[in-house]
């Protein structure tokens, strides 16, 4: 290594800026809008070890709630009477509800059944689609009754209007014959 190299190293050695350089810079940084993290980075920070624990707890709690809700709705059976009315049934208490039967009892041989399910009721384990269909049937029935009533009113109004028209026509005809 030549002396020129040494001298150049000395001449170009590092220097420090003024003492308030960092303070001024940080002031300028604080005035700038914070850079926004991209969504994948924010997602990645959720998976950091300390936060991951809370995410896992949250996910587990949500799953348990969902399973619990599903189980609860399964236990609330819908009973449809023969006349089409829908009634809700709660699960039998310890002693057992004599009006309701469980699926095991339905599938079991006749001799084993005790007590027998009532003849005028059938037990349905509802699914969301089934409930929607039942509600729709009920609504259609109500519409039909309302429609019948409206039709009767309309027929009455038409007959009154028809009678009035006949009277008017008759009066006009009589006036024409006797000027």
């Amino acid at each position: 290594m030549s002396r020129l190299d040494d001298e150049l190293r000395k001449a170009f050695r590092r220097e420090q800026p003024s003492v308030d350089f960092t303070t001024r810079l940080l002031e300028r940084v604080s005035q700038q809008p914070a850079p926004k993290a991209p969504w994948w980075h924010r997602l990645a920070t959720l998976l950091d070890p300390p936060k991951l624990r809370w995410v896992a707890i949250g996910v587990t709690a949500s799953l348990l709630l969902a399973i619990g809700a599903a189980q609860y709705s399964r236990l609330h059976q819908v009973v449809i009477n023969d006349d089409g009315k829908v009634s809700q049934a709660t699960p039998p208490p310890e002693g057992g509800n004599k009006n309701l039967v469980s699926p095991d009892q339905i599938n079991a041989p006749r001799g084993v059944l005790s007590p027998k399910p009532p003849q005028n009721k059938r037990v349905v384990y509802p699914s969301p689609n089934h409930r929607v269909a039942l509600a729709r049937q009920q609504q259609e029935r109500e519409f039909r009754v309302e429609g019948e009533a409206a039709k009767e009113k309309l027929m009455l109004a038409l007959s009154i209007a028809s009678a009035a028209l006949n009277d008017a026509q008759k009066a006009v005809h009589d006036d024409g014959l006797n000027p």
Partner: protein, 184 residues
């Protein structure tokens, strides 16, 4: 760099990227000498160099998430500072274009005063073209080898080598003419 230091630097970078101002301040304090010196040696103006260094660190603050490691950070700072130095020089035309021949002769014997020799060298380097000047600064301030300089300045390796060779030859010529008997 030992593993502990590397891990600490990595941690500092990560915290800065997440908005930790103290971690960012540590990064600035660690690298401000390098950035400021590059700018100062290139522009030969302390206040302009400080302003440029501030711009570089503000740019870093906006791009912290793209920095992958402490080594990448140093590389990024050198590269951005080099480009900004060239931009600044072209935009402001701060440096009067002085030819090598016009550099004033020293009034005293350089061997008696190292500070004077250093200043003389800086003045002579100041007469070099922009890229060649940056090559010399990166070589002697940052102690980079030609391959590293080529990657910082996006230049072919042979161009860097030829810049260095020609710059040193010019410096030798000028200094031997100026200082006479002193062998460099």
């Amino acid at each position: 760099m030992d593993k502990g230091t590397a891990a600490r630097l990595d941690d500092r970078l990560e915290r800065s990227a997440l908005g930790d101002q103290f971690a960012f301040e540590e990064i600035v304090r660690q690298h401000q000498g390098m950035v400021f010196s590059m700018a100062c040696h290139f522009l030969r103006d302390r206040s302009l160099a400080e302003e440029l260094a501030q711009e570089v660190f503000l740019n870093l603050h906006q791009n912290l998430r793209s920095i992958k490691s402490p080594e990448h950070l140093v590389f990024w700072l050198r590269k951005v500072t080099s480009h900004r130095c060239i931009d600044q020089s072209r935009r402001l035309k701060v440096r009067p274009q002085v030819s090598l021949e016009d550099v004033p002769e020293p009034a005293i014997d350089a061997t008696e005063n190292d500070l004077f020799l250093s200043e003389m060298l800086r003045r002579v380097v100041d007469t070099l073209p922009e890229k060649a000047r940056l090559v010399v600064i990166l070589r002697y301030q940052e102690d980079l080898d030609p391959g590293e300089i080529a990657s910082v300045l996006d230049m072919p390796l042979n161009t860097v080598k030829s810049h260095l060779r020609r710059s040193l030859s010019s410096l030798r010529d000028k200094l031997s003419r100026t200082l006479g008997e002193v062998t460099l």
